[in-house]
């Protein structure tokens, strides 16, 4: 089987989520990539180095900048003339593009796969991860989005992919990029961080959240997350949110501070390797999934932790 994997990139850098999708694709067959956008030479070079990749299709056109689905989908549909499966990371970009590709190919997409059970069979979460479905497709071609936390990252070095320029399908002129407010941060990205320190509603307000959570995260070189309650209360922006409606994360260590552990939140972090919970309510549901729990007041525990670590 020949697979085509969407290379996600931003600011001239290849995004890590691509590497997890490559691992999933490799379980199906040959891995080819598509890099689309303008001034993408660096990304294309990085893509050729990913372990195990074959052709790296490069579509150099500003129409593909910002991954506008209206322009990108026809390009992928063209390439699917000689590929059997299209895989994209289940990021907001992948989730935006892949179903558009699937409908144009008359294929039912398989969203957010957790495993490859066979050439046509996959597992995927339903009901916010409260159940896992095994599905088998009857479609001749596959369109898949890949849950990053369920697959290891392919090695970013060691590959010998070959760049092949592909002609542009042009600008469909029905959509355009206006602007973005992307948070700039020195901290690791939530979805690829090894350690995450997350705060909940117990942090009271934005200032307290910053005073308590930020220093602990920075001391540990961790990314910062938050529960939906904390985001809705305005303590931190929505891109910090971990959970069913936020980001799905699976770091080595997840430290939940003042988070009760609503199903919604657990759905986004329960695949973390080690979960540590600090909460003053000993009956909080977070303790049912935590590997290490400390019942205590976060306002005394966190400063003491900061001092002793």
């Amino acid at each position: 089987m020949k697979t085509l994997v969407w290379v996600e990139h931003e600011g001239g850098e290849l995004k890590d989520a691509t590497l997890n999708a490559v691992t999933a694709a490799a379980k199906l067959g040959e891995v080819h990539l598509i890099v689309a956008g303008s001034t993408i030479g660096g990304v294309a070079d990085a893509a050729t180095k990913i372990a195990g990749v074959g052709k790296v299709h490069v579509a150099d056109d500003a129409a593909y900048d910002h991954a506008l689905a209206e322009n990108v989908a026809p390009l992928i549909v063209d390439l699917m003339g000689h590929h059997d499966a299209f895989l994209a990371p289940a990021t907001t970009t992948g989730k935006n593009i892949a179903p558009r590709v699937a409908a144009l190919l008359d294929v039912m997409q398989i969203s957010d796969i957790l495993s490859v059970e066979g050439a046509d069979t996959f597992t995927r979460p339903i009901y916010a991860g409260n159940a896992i479905a095994t599905v088998k497709t009857k479609d001749a071609k596959l369109v898949i989005t890949v849950r990053g936390t369920a697959f290891e990252k392919a090695a970013a070095e060691g590959g010998a992919g070959v760049i092949e320029a592909v002609s542009s399908t042009g600008d469909k002129a029905i959509s355009s990029f206006v602007g973005a407010e992307i948070a700039e941060s020195e901290r690791p990205e939530l979805t690829s961080a090894k350690i995450i320190v997350s705060g909940g509603r117990a942090l009271k307000d934005a200032e307290t959240f910053e005073q308590v959570i930020f220093p602990l995260a920075d001391k540990l070189g961790a990314a910062i997350g938050a529960s939906r309650a904390a985001v809705d209360a305005g303590y931190v922006p929505n891109d910090f949110q971990v959970g069913q409606t936020g980001k799905i994360v699976a770091p080595e260590v997840y430290i939940a501070v003042g988070i009760s552990g609503a199903i919604q939140h657990l759905a986004g972090m329960k695949d973390s390797k080690t979960i540590i919970a600090i909460n003053k309510d000993e009956d909080a549901p977070i303790f049912q999934v935590a590997d290490i729990g400390l019942v205590g007041d976060l306002y005394t525990v966190v400063p003491e932790l900061l001092e002793k670590l």
Binding site: E70, T92, Y127, A173, N238, T274, Q288, A290
Partner: protein, 249 residues
């Protein structure tokens, strides 16, 4: 401008789904069903656009069993003008739903179709994007802000790194994310009034669309359960455990 809002009847978001013992699916017998929460947000946005004078009519559509009428009545009570039920007892996949909605959109000629970004049962997150593809329209997915300006709409999208704004030519598709708005509750007088609003009934066969499923569900299982670990009694113990995990400054 007319706005179409598709809605889905799903298990209520406060109910914890239980996997059937025979592994064929999730048990929906005697379980509270409600409107998909993202669809409520989509309806609220459409009604607000009507209240602002941008939209003239809000039409809600549901594809599902006869009971989906309750969901449509809820939408009418919130403020939608009329409803269409495409009745079927089969589970229709996003691709099939998008094909049926394409036919509805061709008949109704809306300026906007606003959908929830995903249904909380199958979590596919596909229908809006597929509908946009089949109609050849632009799509603004995961919207947190929608502003119609003349013959285009600016949609602010919730993306992984923050927010992004795109401008789409109308007609267009918008899918609603959580922070787009807070849906209103239907008042009792409006619930009564909704009973008199028009609700047309159709079947998939009326549209001549093939909605046969492409995916076969082999089994549905409980996810692996995490075991609760240990509780430590002091920060010192916690620090010791953290250091054992390689977590230290």
């Amino acid at each position: 401008m007319k706005i179409i809002v598709p809605v889905k009847r799903v298990i209520d978001y406060n109910v914890k789904p239980r996997v059937k013992a025979d592994g064929t699916g999730v048990d929906l017998a005697n379980v509270k069903m409600s409107m998909n929460p993202f669809d409520e947000i989509a309806i609220e946005e459409a009604i607000r656009l009507k209240e602002k004078g941008v939209a003239t009519e809000v039409v809600v559509v549901s594809i599902g069993p006869a009971k989906a009428q309750d969901t449509l009545r809820t939408a009418l009570a919130m403020g939608a003008d009329r409803a269409i039920l495409i009745e079927t007892d089969e589970a229709v996949e996003p691709l099939g739903v998008a094909k049926l909605l394409t036919k509805v959109a061709e008949e109704e000629q809306p300026g906007l179709v606003i959908l929830g970004k995903q249904a909380i049962d199958d979590d596919s997150n596909q229908t809006g994007q597929m509908l946009a593809a089949l109609l050849g329209w632009a799509q603004g997915t995961f919207a947190s802000k929608v502003e119609v300006e003349g013959d285009s709409v600016n949609v602010t999208r919730e993306v992984d790194g923050g927010l992004e704004t795109v401008r789409l030519t109308l007609p267009a598709i918008v899918t609603a994310d959580l922070r787009l708005n807070e849906p209103r509750y239907a008042s009792l007088p409006n619930i009564m009034k909704a009973k008199a609003k028009p609700l047309a009934k159709k079947t998939p066969a009326d549209f001549g669309v093939d909605i046969a499923p492409r995916l076969e569900t082999i089994k549905v299982a409980e996810p692996p359960q995490r075991q609760a670990g240990v509780k430590v009694g002091s920060v010192d113990e916690l620090v010791e455990k953290l250091k054992a995990l390689g977590v230290s400054a």
